[in-house]
Symmetry: C2
Subunit: 230 residues, 2 copies
């Protein structure tokens, strides 16, 4: 709806890929609704995934023994995080909805996107004990994981060789987003697009656009073990 802000964190090298098209469809559909849409195109930005001392501007809190979590927490409080992190945090802060668009790599997100999580969601900004899970600092936001797989839908079922697809969503949805207080919408999964016809791939794009039309009416999932492992 008009006024809603969306951040799409996007990790694919190729604009012509299905992931590229899914991202484009989301920008178009959400913009059409009057949303303000921002994209962090991680590969195009050459986003840095490594958590290092470079993320802290100026002196360290404890230069004797480098502790990344402690240092970024301290740096956050004094406004001393590197500018690329500050920019991403500003986008997150303003967003009502975060969409993560990526190809599944090894039952998880690509390293470049994991680096975004590792570096952007620092203590003080996204959580600060005991403010985690339902009292995490990024409340009143929604997140949605939208991804493509290599394996087929039949492989990702309970009893299938790769197990229920929900098993692998636990670290991403619960361990990251829920930990920060973000509510999670049902994932959007395109199974094995490389092994289907061009027509089927077009149907996948249409289905995504269709879902986005009523996305703001969706209820978040109940992000508890039952949803994942029942």
């Amino acid at each position: 709806p008009p006024g809603k802000k969306v951040l799409i964190v996007y990790a694919h090298q190729e604009p012509k890929s299905l992931n590229g098209s899914l991202k484009r469809v989301a920008v178009e559909e959400l913009s059409k609704q009057g949303c303000s849409v921002t994209v962090s195109d991680l590969y195009a930005m050459q986003f840095e995934p490594r958590a290092t001392r470079n993320d802290i501007v100026g002196c360290l809190h404890n230069s004797e023994e480098f502790n990344y979590g402690m240092e970024t927490w301290e740096a956050y409080k004094r406004g001393g995080l590197s500018s690329d992190l500050l920019e991403e945090q500003k986008k997150v802060q303003e967003a009502d909805l975060l969409i993560f668009q990526f190809p599944l790599y090894w039952f998880s997100m690509p390293a470049i996107m994991k680096g975004w999580m590792d570096r952007v969601l620092v203590q003080g900004f996204a959580h600060e004990f005991p403010n985690c899970y339902d009292s995490g600092l990024l409340q009143n936001k929604l997140a949605l994981f939208s991804f493509t797989t290599g394996g087929s839908r039949e492989m990702y079922v309970k009893g299938g060789i790769s197990g229920d697809i929900r098993y692998l969503l636990w670290p991403m949805q619960h361990g990251i987003m829920h930990f920060c207080g973000v509510k999670v919408l049902a994932p959007h999964i395109c199974f094995a697009p490389e092994y289907v016809s061009e027509e089927k791939r077009k149907e996948m794009l249409v289905a995504w656009a269709q879902r986005l039309k009523t996305l703001w009416k969706e209820e978040p999932i109940d992000c508890s073990p039952e949803w994942y492992f029942k």
Copy 2:
């Protein structure tokens, strides 16, 4: 035992950290046993986590539409992967045991280590359909995930706020190692070392050295959904 080869893939920025000590203890104990130990110190190597076109030397198989999985597969077959990947693959090929030593970041490994998985374990080298899972290409190897957590042991139990620690091992142990045919030893977990006494931390190092003494007699876990979600 003499002659066994071990590769430790290590991801911590600080040699003085508990992770640094755990790595050092493993090198010492395994060397004492007569093993040949190699360490990939990812931060020290400034290991590249991003999966990009730079991983392929020379021309692309399809330069019209970049597909990372396809291109690295083709490059592997013609010997056209970048030299940093070839070096890591050589270390993996020679190893009997892979130890991954890292601090848990967001219910998973740090991005720099995820990048190692994304980039090193390419199709053709580590798996090649239908050679996956029990018939993956890295058979007769063992893997062990050794990591530290921020949260306490009490948080990581069934019914606890962060769920059973085994839930988050599924993508790493089953989705990556088992997929490549590698047998998985029980994980080694040091809970919340930042919140315990120096004495407790020393006990953690002793316990790790102790376990390594009889490691080669251990049986791999049964890497099936029951182990994780029973």
